[in-house]
């Protein structure tokens, strides 16, 4: 690990940390609807899975999973990596995500992914992620994203009505 590697988060190490992060994932209704699962943690790296389900197909002729599912999965896992990199984990919001689709996912197979928060600042975290079936060497898609860290209470203020 280099000096500028992201600090380890309060999620700690080992089984308990994984269980806590899994709970966090299940807390998201859309994550539950897709069946997104976190499988492994290591520092600011996180691994996950989204199961193959007929209702997530984007191309009925080939049975390939919709691009939107990959987008959501990579966004979710990348956000998780950002949270794991934080000294005092709070919620994060995606600023932007750029996704390159190298090929369609293989029909009938679960999609796996790995996300790594490679830089975290006071306000912003930067994350790279890759989706694949067997190995990151044969990717389905790559993602690069930036997240705003909820370090101020202002987060989500646009959800409240304008003050009169």
């Amino acid at each position: 690990m280099t000096d500028d590697a992201p600090p380890k988060g309060h999620y700690g190490e080992g089984h308990d940390a994984l269980e806590r992060v899994r709970e966090m994932t299940r807390w998201t209704p859309h994550g539950r609807a897709l069946g997104i699962e976190v499988t492994k943690l290591d520092g600011a790296r996180v691994w996950g899975r989204v199961p193959y389900k007929p209702e997530l197909i984007g191309d009925p002729e080939t049975g390939v999973v919709a691009g939107g599912v990959i987008t959501t999965f990579l966004d979710q896992l990348s956000g998780m990596a950002a949270v794991l990199a934080m000294r005092e984990p709070t919620t994060v919001a995606t600023i932007d995500i750029r996704i390159d689709y190298m090929r369609g996912a293989e029909p009938g197979r679960d999609v796996l992914a790995e996300a790594h928060c490679y830089k975290i600042g006071r306000n912003v975290a930067f994350v790279r992620a890759v989706a694949f079936e067997d190995s990151a060497e044969n990717p389905i898609a790559h993602a690069a994203s930036a997240f705003m860290l909820n370090t101020q209470t202002k987060f989500g203020t646009n959800l409240r009505g304008k003050k009169t």
């Binding site: 998201t28 691009g67 939107g68 979710q76």
Partner: protein
């Protein structure tokens, strides 16, 4: 079959579009996709806010459908890459999206899309992407 019916049929054939609950409306050659609010689309139940991935998926669906209309094709183009900018949290209300085909080349098309909720002038997200129109 009217263009509106053809479009509805094409979308109804996509299981993922049904999973999200997306509906389509066509005025002339301009398409609006409508994503009615549903609890299973929420990403953050505390705020609550729609999952960003869902908004991204809606704009991508809008882009490939608008592209099929613009290129008078029944086949959906393949996504090469997309960039999604999140501008505001998605509230637990209906979301709309429209796409503009910037350019269709021989193989690649460039498309921009925007998603909004109550006010068209207050977009919640923007997308730009490249799509493979022929192989």
């Amino acid at each position: 079959m009217s263009p509106q019916e053809r479009l509805t049929t094409a979308l109804a054939r996509i299981p993922y579009a049904n999973f999200l609950g997306v509906r389509a409306e066509l005025k002339g050659d301009e398409l609006t996709l409508i994503l009615p609010y549903s609890e299973h689309l929420v990403g953050n139940p505390l705020l609550p806010a729609l999952h960003g991935g869902v908004v991204g998926a809606l704009m991508e669906l809008t882009a490939i459908t608008q592209l099929a209309i613009a290129s008078k094709s029944d086949k959906f183009a393949k996504t090469i890459d997309i960039g999604v900018d999140f501008l505001r949290s998605g509230k637990p209300v209906d979301t709309y999206a429209r796409a503009r085909v910037v350019k269709i080349g021989r193989r690649i098309a460039n498309v921009q899309a925007e998603a909004w909720q109550n006010e068209r002038s207050q977009p919640i997200a923007a997308m730009h992407g490249h799509f493979l129109v022929a192989e």
